[in-house]
Amino acid sequence: MLETVKPYLWPVLFGVIVVAVLPLLAGYVVLLERKVMADMQARLGPMRVGPHGLLQPIADALKLLIKEDIVPLNADRVIFWLAPVLSVTTALVAYAAIPFGPGFQIADMNIGLLFILAVSSLGIYGIVLGGWSSNSNYSLMGAIRSVAQLVSYETAAGLALISALMMGSSLSLRALVMAQQNQGVWFIFCVPIAFFIYLVASIAETNRAPFDFPEAESELVAGYMTEYSGFRWSLYFLAEYANMIIVASVATTLFLGGWLRPLASVHLQIPGTRMEILDLIPPLFFLALAGYCVLRAPRQPVAVQKVFMLLVAGFCLLLAAALGWSLTSAEFLPAIHGAFWFLAKVFVYIYAFLWIRFTFPRYRFDQLMNLGWRILIPLALTNLVGVGVALVLHSARGWGLFPAFLLTTLATLAVAGFLVNEGDKRLKVVAVGANGE
């Protein structure tokens, strides 16, 4: 019996780690978002709880936990209770397939990508049922909008992902990363348009601005979660941020080389040792961070905050030590550094999300649908044909990888220009029509 259980031990342990760490991570993504937003808007952001607001997520979580839980009159209680749980569950289950590093993956499924797509498509139910069971107009409209939006943009996202699949010829996420290693190029450089389509579609899928219709505050107050409060509301929030991390992870794995180091095929070694110069970046980064924290510590206003800042510095030092120590061991090097690079890429992707959110106004719902169906999906299809052609040119005609993809990318760009142009023309016609009324 023990033999039966044994292979499941590591995955279960990884799963527990993910489930335990993820809410915390999501909380800090929120803090990051608020800090980035503040930076872009010429203010400071949270500064009160902990130095530079470092404890803000924990304070927020505590506050949400002890808030009153309000259930609207005539709400469908069971579904009202179930919906946020469903949202979070589906978001967490999707992590099962994501390779955070070469050794750190809960399950390497042969249908890994399909699994993630399948599970995240279930996330719709959390939104729809929550909106429906609240018994409120705003919630219901938010729910209906979100269904339409998610269904449309899932198509575009799926089509964009297929081009990476064609490059790596596998559905297993680990195999896809290995393919990028073997071919010596991140897929984003081969299929930039697919990456762009996925970027846009993933913003829409996670309901982030400029596509945040299900919760457009100036129109629908808070959309499907208008009637939610306290802990249930925070579950939705957790699900949203967990989903953000998932789409970022998928994009990282498929387009940005997963856990691979930038310039993974360059091996510049420090003379006399086996260590590579580029591998020194992660420990040095954390060392610098620790140094900064130590410098800032005396400037903190309260003694507790000084201590906390030093603790943060110690934590960074610990990470730097772990990353540095792994340089000496060939076994742990890819595992630990892989996780570092993976998370770094995920955060870059999320930063792009935030940047876009604070820069652009919100689309209107019909414009969103137009963008999805009339531009992104045709473009994704064209791109798919382009990738196919390029692969044939590469493998059958012996073209180089880059000339082949340059050609098809340019062709796809031309189609994109045409589509956008047509869209603009249609807009003008609509405007003239409105004038005529």
């Binding site: 409120s136 107009n137 601005a209 457009a216 129109e219 107050v221 106004p361 609509v430 409105a434 004038n435």
Partner: protein, 380 residues
């Protein structure tokens, strides 16, 4: 009472297809109705089949209060109407009473009034720009706008001690002399501000999403605008060159060189552009005015007790939101017999139905923003 049933945001779901139309209540507690405006939307799916504004949630009886106050005592009340452009309200009222008294403020007071009023126009437009962009979903411009508005409010604070409801002017001139460094402050602000407007414009003017959200949305033709009595930037965006600062100059506007920005389509985008240009023009006026402020008295000789001769007067100025008119009837006592205010927001709000009908729900939000209403002024 009316054809619309009284269903709030939390009522039973009515989005069935069978009934062709549903009623959605926006406000009075809704994030984007700018205060306590309540709009009942009759929706056909996502299309707006009709709107009805329900106002009065902020009614304080300002006009009635005036009948029980002396002329000077009433002056602070007008600040509470359009509370984001209090200086303009004060200017209109003071000039109206001065007209009633058959007197005029001295030249220095008039120039200072012009400067402060134009600064107030910029501040009001900045607030409009920030909230309008926020309604359309751009989160960042509002903070930039408030940053510059803050500078203006600082100048107000230094001048008269108050930031929002300033009560900056008195009947007959000014209470306070300008503080040391007033000119320098205004000049510094004006010099910086040109770049700041460019900054807002880089964020919005050519942004595809912004253009697609505002162009062709909420179109108001010139005929409709005139028929509805719309004034201010909303009117000028429809292509009518009408600005009281040029048409019947007051304060010191006849001395300065500025233009009246107009556009022709009358949509939300044009109104946006008109207001942006107006801020530039206001900055231009301030620059000219601050260059030479005449020296001399700041208060006309009118005495402490004001008893205007019996009669009536209508005086209007170009407030940031449009024509702000005061109709005052005097019966020869210290208190006005009747004061009637023509607030620009109230009149402009009438155009909402014309602009919103046939559009989408999201457009209503944009249109309420583009009219630039302040409920304190609408309800009085």
């Amino acid at each position: 009472m009316d054809e619309y049933s009284n269903r709030g945001g939390s009522s039973v779901s009515t989005t069935e297809l069978g009934a062709d139309e549903i009623i959605l209540n926006m406000g009075p507690q809704h994030p984007s109705t700018h205060g306590v405006l309540r709009v009942k939307l009759k929706l056909d799916g996502e299309r707006v089949a009709g709107t009805e504004c329900i106002i009065g949630y902020l009614h304080r009886g300002v006009e009635k209060i005036a009948e029980h106050r002396t002329y000077q005592q009433f002056a602070p009340y007008v600040d509470r109407m359009d509370y984001v452009a209090a200086v303009s309200n004060g200017l209109g009222y003071c000039e109206a009473v001065e007209k009633l008294l058959l007197t005029e403020a001295p030249p220095r007071a008039r120039v200072v009034r012009t400067i402060l009023t134009e600064l107030q126009r910029i501040a009001s437009h900045l607030l409009w720009l920030g909230t309008h962009a926020l309604d359309i979903g751009a989160l960042t411009p509002v903070f930039y706008c408030f940053r510059e508005r803050e500078e203006i409010l600082k100048i107000f604070e230094k001048y008269c001690g108050a930031r929002l409801t300033t009560h900056a002017f008195r009947i007959g001139g000014l209470q306070y002399e300008t503080y040391d460094g007033f000119e320098a402050d205004v000049k510094r602000f004006c010099a910086d501000f040109t770049h700041k407007i460019d900054e807002y414009e880089t964020l919005l003017t050519l942004n595809r999403i912004w253009v697609s959200r505002t162009k062709g949305v909420g179109i108001l033709t010139a005929e409709d605008a005139i028929a509805l009595g719309v004034t201010g930037p909303v009117l000028r965006a429809s292509g009518i060159k009408w600005d009281l600062r040029k048409a019947q100059p007051y304060a010191a506007y006849d001395k300065y060189d500025f233009e009246i920005p107009t556009r022709e389509h009358g949509d939300t985008y044009d109104r946006y552009l008109v207001r942006m240009d107006e801020m530039r023009q206001s900055q231009r006026i301030c620059m000219q005015a601050v260059e030479d402020i005449p020296v001399g008295a700041i208060m006309a000789r009118i005495g402490k007790v004001l008893k205007p001769p019996p009669g009536e007067v209508y005086h209007s100025i170009e407030a940031p939101k449009g024509e702000l008119g005061y109709y005052i009837v005097s019966d020869g006592t210290v208190q006005p017999y009747r004061v009637r205010v023509r607030p620009p927001s109230f009149i402009n709000l009438q155009a909402l139905d014309k602009m919103a009908r046939g559009g989408l729900v999201a457009d209503v939000v944009a249109i309420i923003g583009t009219i630039d209403i302040v409920l304190g002024e609408v309800d009085r």
